[in-house]
Amino acid sequence: MFFLQYIFLTFVVMLFEATVVPRIAILGLTPDLGLALVVYAGLAGGGRGGTLIGLLIGLLRGSLEPEWLGLDVLLLSAVGFAAAYTSPKVDRDHPVVQGILIALLLLGHDTARVLAITGFSLARAIPLWLSSAPGTALITGILVPTAVHLWRKIYLGGPRGAFS
């Protein structure tokens, strides 16, 4: 059930990224819904769920950018795996915690990706990273957990139960 739910969500996110997301761009920056979904898959489905959903989204994204097909698979799988093993001491149901987690993992993902794309050239990687990673992390870390929190509150009558 978990995988069916998240595979469906994956296609919804792909459609959203192609249609709605460009319209809500702030200063040219848009939320990374795919990565956020991988984080939620990791939180809800554990290491295996997060990794496999990361693998699926990595394959889908990579198919649109064949040069980095393997890289997307690796990085997004790692993001899902990492999301599943965040510290047990933090309240992962809290939207702020989720926002911070998404932002940190996105920054990590973008850092690795930018370094790989630029052939580990810091001179090219740093400006590229600065131009998008912090802004995207901020927007994604704020918008997505807020939207998820509201959705769960309105449609599920409370913060619990959405991904259980």
Partner: protein, 268 residues
């Protein structure tokens, strides 16, 4: 509720991660050309539902144009609906008029009411018919249902002025339809009703009795409905009854009226 974070990944988790790494390395190792083929394959399989939706969705510009066109059509349709509603009311009114004209034996001349002027002594109408339409002073004016409205008092070339029953200067000789008793009817501004004078105390008059023209004034033909009695009381000092009559004509909604065309037998 999200799963409680486990301290250490299990075997299945490591296996999934290892599979992801293996896929990733494989895709990296097969080289650019094969990676492009793999991407094409993935687009044709994994992305098929996505492509299906996107390819069938109309382009944004087309959607916007269509929406603008639909908005225009909606606005036009709303305007048309409003116009139809107004025409329906007018049609109903005209049907009533036509029905009345067909029922009445005397010829009638319809006239649009251009203005209703409340003056100090009462109410006057401006009609869009005048001398060139054959109008004359004292010509009776009837309502849509044949009820008495008033009479013409001034005629110009293309328009005329009429006094309604709600004018102090207009008095009408009337008859009680049931008892055939004759009296004089005039507007009573204090009561905002017509006052029927000259009905003796010995007459039996009841509220609800119909009042019609008597024909004695030689202005209005006989038996034109004027109104209905709403109150009757005895005035012992004057030895007559004080009778108030509600006019049959709806003066507040008067849009058209009918002029009774000259009847030679009556005028002679």
């Amino acid at each position: 509720m999200f799963r409680k974070a486990a301290a250490y990944p299990g075997f299945g988790d490591w296996l999934a991660l290892a599979a992801a790494i293996a896929v990733s390395l494989l895709l990296y190792a097969i080289g650019k050309e094969h990676r492009a083929h793999a991407a094409v394959f993935l687009r044709g399989t994994l992305l098929y539902p996505y492509r299906l939706v996107m390819e069938n969705a109309p382009p944004r510009d087309e959607l916007q144009t269509e929406m603008a066109s639909l908005r225009y059509q909606l606005a036009t349709a709303n305007r048309e609906v409003a116009r139809c509603a107004s025409e329906r009311v007018e049609l109903r009114r005209l049907r009533t008029q036509l029905d009345y004209m067909e029922r009445r034996e005397e010829p009638l001349l319809p006239a649009r009411v251009l203005a209703v002027t409340p003056i100090r002594q009462g109410e006057q109408l401006t009609l869009e018919r005048g001398k060139q339409h054959g109008l004359y002073v004292d010509q009776p004016l009837l309502g849509v249902h044949g009820e008495l409205v008033g009479k013409v008092v001034q005629v110009k070339e293309r328009e005329s002025t009429a006094q309604t029953l709600r004018h102090e200067a207009l008095s009408v000789m009337v008859r009680l339809e049931r008892t055939r008793e004759v009296g004089l009817l005039r507007w009573s501004p204090l009561q905002r009703l017509l006052s029927l004078e000259g009905i003796g105390l010995d007459e039996t008059v009841f509220p609800g009795d119909t009042v019609v023209t008597s024909g004695h004034g030689r202005i209005f033909p006989v038996d034109i409905r004027v109104g209905e009695i709403v109150s009757v009381r005895d005035d012992s000092t004057a030895l007559v009854k004080v009778i108030l009559v509600e006019p049959a004509a709806d003066f507040d909604r008067l849009e058209e009226a009918f002029l009774l065309v000259p009847d030679s037998t009556l005028r002679e």
